[in-house]
Amino acid sequence: DAGVTQSPTHLIKTRGQQVTLRCSPKSGHDTVSWYQQALGQGPQFIFQYYEEEERQRGNFPDRFSGHQFPNYSSELNVNALLLGDSALYLCASTITLPGSNQPQHFGDGTRLSIL
């Protein structure tokens, strides 16, 4: 039973470039969330996708966008990269069940470094 998988594991970009990160949810999950984790901090919620639509969004600029595909996998795109975007980007998946909260399961993340 494969867990949440993310690619790539590491990425180095320069300021102003664009990046795409990918995530495959755990088998049986239909909802994907993305988080940004700076060094020494807890993860910060970017957005969540369900039924190929953005369902919730955190306090991140429009440079951060996403997509969910029919197979539930997801992409996170970041445009016009800034030095401050350097972080560990975590993908989490869960299953949406009416009237029931389910835990989110996390991937190992993509370490993004901006030079």
Partner: protein
């Protein structure tokens, strides 16, 4: 100030000792989740608490939720080096089952 505060920020204990990590919310909790993270890696789900007074255990780790105090505690009994890592509490504060707010984490070291 943080919506979710963890204490202590770091902890060093001798192997075999018990320890407790606290997580306090400034808002109503609709769900409280505990995770463990090894440095630079993903989060491993430990436990989910949803009801006031709820208590769950997994191996030597026990978590409790005090709804009135908007607080949760994670207790490890007879700590082992394998317990070392960063413990994070995450909370659902809008009852929509999506966005989790995380504390800043508690770094635990266990000395053999």
């Amino acid at each position: 100030s943080q919506e979710l505060e963890q204490s202590p920020q770091s902890l060093i204990v001798q192997e075999g000792k018990n320890l407790t990590i606290n997580c306090t919310s400034s808002k109503t909790l609709y769900g409280l989740y505990w995770y463990k993270q090894k440095y630079g890696e993903g989060l491993i789900f430990l436990m989910m608490l949803q009801k006031g007074g709820e208590e769950k255990s997994h191996e030597k780790i026990t978590a409790k939720l005090d709804e009135k105090k908007q607080q949760s505690s994670l207790h490890i009994t007879a700590s082992q080096p394998s317990h070392a890592g960063i413990y994070l509490c995450g909370a659902d504060m809008n009852n929509q089952g999506g966005k989790l707010i995380f504390g800043q984490g508690t770094e635990l070291s266990v000395k053999p």
